[in-house]
Point group: C2
Chain length 448, copies 2
Amino acid sequence: MKSDVLVIGSSAAGLVAATTAKRCYPEKKVVVVSRQPKTLVPCGIPYLFGALAKTDNDIMPVDKMFAGLGIELITGEVESVDREARQVTLADGKNIAYERLVLGTGSLPRQATFIAGAELKNVFYVPKDKVYLDGVLQQLENCQKIAVIGAGFIGVEVADELAQNDKQVTLIERLPTILPLAFDVDVASRVEQLLAERGVSVRTDVEVEHIGGSSAVDGVFLRDGSKIEADAVIMAVGYRPEVQLAQDAGLPISPLGFIRVDEYMRTEDPHIFAVGDCAEKRDFVTRKPVMTMLASTACAEARIAGMNLFGLSAIKTFNGTISIFSTAIGTTGIGIAGLTEKIAAEENFIYVTGAFEGIDHHPGTLAGTHKQYVKLVVGKESGVILGGEVYGGLSVGELINTIGIIIQSRMTVNGLLTAQLGTHPLLTASPAGYPLVKAAEDAAIKMR
Amino acid sequence: MKSDVLVIGSSAAGLVAATTAKRCYPEKKVVVVSRQPKTLVPCGIPYLFGALAKTDNDIMPVDKMFAGLGIELITGEVESVDREARQVTLADGKNIAYERLVLGTGSLPRQATFIAGAELKNVFYVPKDKVYLDGVLQQLENCQKIAVIGAGFIGVEVADELAQNDKQVTLIERLPTILPLAFDVDVASRVEQLLAERGVSVRTDVEVEHIGGSSAVDGVFLRDGSKIEADAVIMAVGYRPEVQLAQDAGLPISPLGFIRVDEYMRTEDPHIFAVGDCAEKRDFVTRKPVMTMLASTACAEARIAGMNLFGLSAIKTFNGTISIFSTAIGTTGIGIAGLTEKIAAEENFIYVTGAFEGIDHHPGTLAGTHKQYVKLVVGKESGVILGGEVYGGLSVGELINTIGIIIQSRMTVNGLLTAQLGTHPLLTASPAGYPLVKAAEDAAIKMR
């Protein structure tokens, strides 16, 4: 079989690479190979443990989108890439030739082989795998006490969903705060308190000694000698890029384990692009390689690859990846864009912070009003805004994008203080107490 | 009495000018003169007719904020400004000397003297005046059928609030759509349908002939001969800047009726600044004077004036005013930043539009999911984003600020397509179908 553009993977990266390619190059034949016939919405996966209830509620309509655009979808496993012949071979022996190959092979949960007992029954992971997760959800029905190991975004979201689903949940984190890589302690401690109020037992600054049980789990033993009762464990200890296929094909892999790509997502081989969790990323501010693996980043990369497959049309005006995360816990939203204060300090930036706590409606007598806290990290001499963190209501998901665009535009505190922002009683903070602007004011006064 | 900084008015503009001045120049004596002892949250006023119910629920804590910072608040009416002597005289005869004077005299409802019957009892306006509005709210208790004349933001918000408050409401607009100056028809028609579903009777493209009644209103007669039963009329036919004091003091007034100011909010007199609804504004894109009167704009201007009173420290990096409006109707939010397509056409811009309709959560099976429509107006050759309109859920208030920053950064479609935006199932659209980015893609394809 022949293709012009062959995409491996149908999650966020593969989906957007294929649809963008077809829209930009309608005359090309675009083929996508996916392992499973149905693809999960990746960011919806933690909500399978609560609100969404089952995987069938979390399906991306990939087949319909592809059919509508004339993209061919094949279910199969790519076993090898022959770069010389420009073709791949599937597990069933079929070959597909390509003019351009896009690797969207994603990431896999990091295995907790460093924890004794991790091989026991009822120790689960959270991969982007519908069949596996169907099994997990079924088994969890019979479990009441659940330990979640690792308090990154996935751990926090899964723990909260399980607790809302009436499970008895303990969230275990080795570092002193939850979300330790994503947020500074001022935001993290607010989230920790909220989780506790919502029924999650949070244990930070503790090391897991081993997972106990004979065949199935019966508890998690900590290094301090205490035991957390559990009849299931969910491992949320991070992800690693899935690069086996690329590595076997001789493509260079970065020290952090990603497929090496340039700013336009091109590998060393001019016919092969890589996008999403498997592709190397460089931080927008620190300029260093980073471990960021986000669907939003994957989609941005896939868009660039898709547009640029046969010639660079989407010229990058922003350089590097800025991580923009957000999540919600009940009616509380939290978000982060760019550098935390902690990373700014570690990277030896000379910075000031500015912070303000206000409310997200005005006047505060309106129903649905939520506290809103904004913190900015600012280069002390340049005034350039390097990062922002927000704790507030559900409008935080878009507010953090405003901050993200501010950072990517290399806007300064002065620029922000002289810019216009819109406000409305039911939708935002008041114009006189808009926390983003007040935080910038606070930083400006410290810069003097 | 002597002051270093004297501010006239304590609404958004005056409040922020005074507090910013005191924070930037803590050694200066800052005095604010306000007409009434309590100041309303200006954008909350339409919600007095429904959700907020009474003016005491819509008060800005001006006195507390001023007391905390050491700003003196005087209740009184300034009758004249003596620019030579640098002092003002109040109605009670008291004089206050100033080093810098900030005029935040605001705006007044445009009187509908062009409509016969506008002088009848139960014809009301919507000024920023607590005492007057207390009277209106009391009288409306005895009225069931209410006609709102003028379907700008104030008219739409007041009409919807009254309808939710079980009044029988007719919203009357001379132009072919509601919100005719703010939105293009694609968004306006969606809002019109929503209002109808929520019980507001919307009459567009009709002219009021006169208001009928002997002493009190009994109906609104249209030019087509029909009559709308009404026992009260609310006039929402726009606002005009309140510049009497400035004019009497010999300060230049612009052809649109605003106090002439430079980009730093300085009037012709180097000791006098003007900010907010009374101060002249120039559009960010068209470069023409505009009628924009928004609290958010007022606060941005007041911040700049406050910082720059004794020397230009906040140097403008954005030029001109971009209008960013947003509002909510039930769980629907709408917003606009920069140019509409209509204005782009009228001003002879060579443009393309890009639009996309998606959803504001992902997957759409999540509770609270709302349709989200984004439209962008883009310079065809330059790719510069000139305006954006959004119809969606309650996250629209912050989403329109992302678009506002994009416009103010003079970002291009290419820049937006290569930028990062964060997404989360519970907070935003999906990364693969984020309407802002999909609208940019749509525009990019049309630019080819």
